[in-house]
């Protein structure tokens, strides 16, 4: 059981909308860890599309990611990588 937390930045110009949210959820469902993302006092489960949409995370936003569970490190790495790549968007 590990816990890991850190900050990621939204780099794609449209921010977190339905497509990135769905892509993120699709990736994260593979992990057993609990993954939460917080932004402006709003903490949501990163495996919930609707939750991610409520963040209102535009480009340049810094989001706090916390993972806890057996595969927390891999899960955190996956989240960080997806945010860094801009979810394949410009």
């Amino acid at each position: 059981m590990t816990e890991i937390a850190g900050e990621v930045e939204v780099v794609n110009s449209l921010g977190i909308h339905a497509r990135p949210a769905a892509a993120l959820v699709q990736q994260l469902l593979k992990f057993d860890s609990e993954i939460y993302i917080s932004f402006k006092g709003n903490r949501v489960n990163a495996k919930s599309i609707m939750g991610l949409l409520t963040l209102g995370a535009a480009r340049g936003s810094l989001l706090e990611v916390s993972c806890s569970g057996p595969d927390a490190e891999e899960a955190y790495a996956a989240v960080a990588e997806m945010f860094a790549s801009g979810f394949g968007e410009a």
Partner: protein
Amino acid sequence: MDFNKLPVTRKQFVPVSRLLAHVTHNIDFEMLAGFQGTERPVYTWDVNRPGLALSGYLDYFANDRVQILGNTEIHFMERLTPHELATRVSNMFAFEVPAFVLSRNLTPQPVFLDLCNRNGVPVLRTSLSTDEVISRIILYLTQEFAPETVLHGTAVDVYGVGCLIVGKPGIGKSESALELVERGHRLVADDLVELKRRREDYLYAKTNDIVQHHMEIRGLGIIDVRAVFGVGSVRVFKRMGLVVEIEEWDESADYDRTGLNAQHVDVLGVRIPYLRIPVRPGRNIAIIIEVAALNQRLKELGTDSVKELNDTIMRTNRYQSR
């Protein structure tokens, strides 16, 4: 399910008798001559007005079509001597002609009817105007010549949206349909769905004439939906607006989570919205299909909920981005 591998059948020809039987239902057809030729085949849905052929020009004579004789042709024929007319019509009969149709209760010259009797070419007459009879014949023949297929599945009219439910045997197609009927929707066909393309872009499902609205439910046996639920619970014919494939839940499959990636399938050349719905205990497939049908209607009426939600989010994000 691979819709491209369905066995497609298409009629090669329609006998004149079939045209007569159908059309007399809607049009007051009478037969003037050529009674022995009622089994002559019509090979194409189009019709021809044989004005040029009657004038003697027989290159490119569209002889395989139903020949329509309206005011123009009849009055032209009246200007010919019986001998001239006999020669020209005989020349036309060097080609195989399926039938003549007279509009506006017109009466041709006796020599024309004689020749048709001798050659066994049916002559039909109606009181309808020429354009009306042409459009009705073309409409009927295009339906007859439309491609058809049969598939294993279930067709239900859900809130006016024809839903074609497909999936492996035993996955619960019939049970879902039964629940939809219970909830007030209408069964079109179960197990054997006859599909037919109409025009270029309409796909129709039809009840099989023998099976009708009987349904086999495991554990119950065969039930007659019309008798059990009443005549309001069935229909014979319905345009299909949605294909729903029910399948076993697959952890590794990418189910559409947002509805942004609308999928379509091609059935008999008609593009139809397509949904894959995984089954799992606790998921009520009938209700999901019901909502899918309503959402489809909403989209057809111009409201794409997920797109509108996402557009709002993207607009806000763009406004706030740094």
